[in-house]
Amino acid sequence: MTKVMGPADGSGLLQIQSACVSFGAVEVLAGVDLELRKGEFVCVIGPSGSGKTTLLRLLAGLLPPTSGSVTFRGKAHTKPSRDVAIVFQDYANALLPWRTAEANVSLALEAAGVPRAQRPARIRELLNKVGLGNSTQKYPTEMSGGMQQRLQIARCLAQEPDVLLMDEPFGALDAMTRQKLQDEVLAIVAESSVTAFFVTHDLEEAIYLGDRIIALEPNPGRVCRVFDVNLPRPRNQLSTREMPEFLRLRRELFDFIQQFEQ
């Protein structure tokens, strides 16, 4: 077991303590400790089979640990909470195809019991925030992948979450869209002071977005190393990526991943 997180003094918003997850005889996560502090942006990288998505599902409350515990604001976190929003990678499946963009965002407001009269203004504000102000009446199938993922993010923001969990959200998008969305997510997180947890297999993306990077190792999945990212904010697609610290981290992460690629 690797104990690498900060002091477990209860200041963590969302915390995992020596959690193991097994599916039958297969151990997916073994003794993971993790603490998300309020307002920080944590990225997770690791080779395939290192349990990145399982870790996210654990934090989401979608999956109970086989042993160990997950706590949210100091209380046991055994089922999903509206205060923890999840952005899934497969945005097309996570949206309701029979609802317009507007109505998809509305779902989260309906779930939270927001009065009908207050919904339209909130929806408009959220869709504007993610750049979908002109597509309120479109159905998901009429939107590009990038727009659909923006819509899913808008729905998650409608929950007014304390924690935003993202599972390779830009993995299926083209490079240009991906960079734009990275900047938008950074802006949204900075503005709302939400705590972000971001799973990715793109090492540069992890450095560009994160305050901290958790590197998992596989078979069974466990925390191997933690990298602190000391890059100034706001970040910039060109200048940040040219900084010596960025390049150093990139090299380190690359070497880390390389050892698992046979």
Partner: protein
């Protein structure tokens, strides 16, 4: 155009039938020439009894369909959402489902006697199971990710059913309704032929028993036309309500 081409063979067969009947100077208790059938149908349609019979058959069939479809869809949604319940009920359903609906006529007759209730009950029984199976399947095929979205949003059970399950299965539910409507008409008329002295089925039996072949065939053609019309209307409705299912298998 293709409709006209499709009608060529039936039209030719009817003409051939008429020709043969005239050639042999047909005098029969079981067959009638098309000319007499058309005359009989014309006479019937200008009278009132065939409309009364049609209304009876459609009322009993329609109410039975409404009952069978409503219960079947509700059970299907429940079974789809709660797999343990579905497993618990599987043997029961699989034992009852293959039972030919007409075979429960004797039991239903003892319970309901002759009349609407008998027919409604049997049509409901006949349509309940296909709708149940189709609905349960439709619920099972809902994108699993949507269940996680529902959990993440902490939607209540009722909200899950109303906001996710129902909209997701409605197009398939309509297909189930269309198939069940066909079954309802078949079963309603079968019940009327076998037992229930009302509706178009009974009309067929009376014409046959009193050796009036022209009337019998006239009713038969009328039933065939109604069956075709029913399917046509349902297909039209489906295309109108769910444009995405247009061109789906019929």
């Amino acid at each position: 155009m293709s409709l006209l081409r499709g009608l060529a063979i039936p039209a030719a067969l009817i003409l051939l039938w008429q020709g043969l009947a005239m050639w042999h100077d047909l005098q029969s208790d079981t067959l009638a020439a098309p000319r007499e059938i058309i005359l009989a149908l014309g006479a019937a349609l200008t009278g009132s009894t065939i409309w009364k019979d049609t209304a009876d058959t459609f009322a009993a069939g329609g109410l039975g369909l409404a009952l069978g479809f409503g219960l079947g869809a509700a059970t299907g949604v429940l079974f789809g959402i709660l797999p343990p319940l579905s497993r618990l009920m599987r043997v029961t359903v699989e034992l009852l489902r293959p039972l030919p609906s007409i075979s429960i006529v004797p039991i239903a007759l003892l319970i309901f006697g002759f009349g609407y209730s008998l027919e409604i009950a049997i049509v409901a029984f006949a349509t309940y199971f296909p709708v149940l199976v189709l609905t349960e399947n439709a619920v099972r095929q809902i994108e699993p990710r949507l269940w996680e979205v529902a959990r993440a949003l902490d939607l209540s059970f009722a909200a899950r059913v109303i906001k996710i399950v129902v909209p997701a299965v409605v197009p398939r539910l309509f297909v189930a309704l269309r198939l069940a409507a066909g079954i309802a008409l078949i079963v309603a008329i079968t019940v009327e032929i076998a037992a229930n002295p009302m509706g178009l089925g009974a009309r067929l039996m009376q014409a046959s028993a009193s050796l009036r072949p022209a009337d019998m065939f006239a009713t038969l053609f009328w039933v065939a036309y109604l069956g075709w019309l029913l399917n046509w209307v349902m297909l039209r409705l489906q295309g109108l309500l769910f444009p995405a299912t247009r061109g789906a298998p019929r």
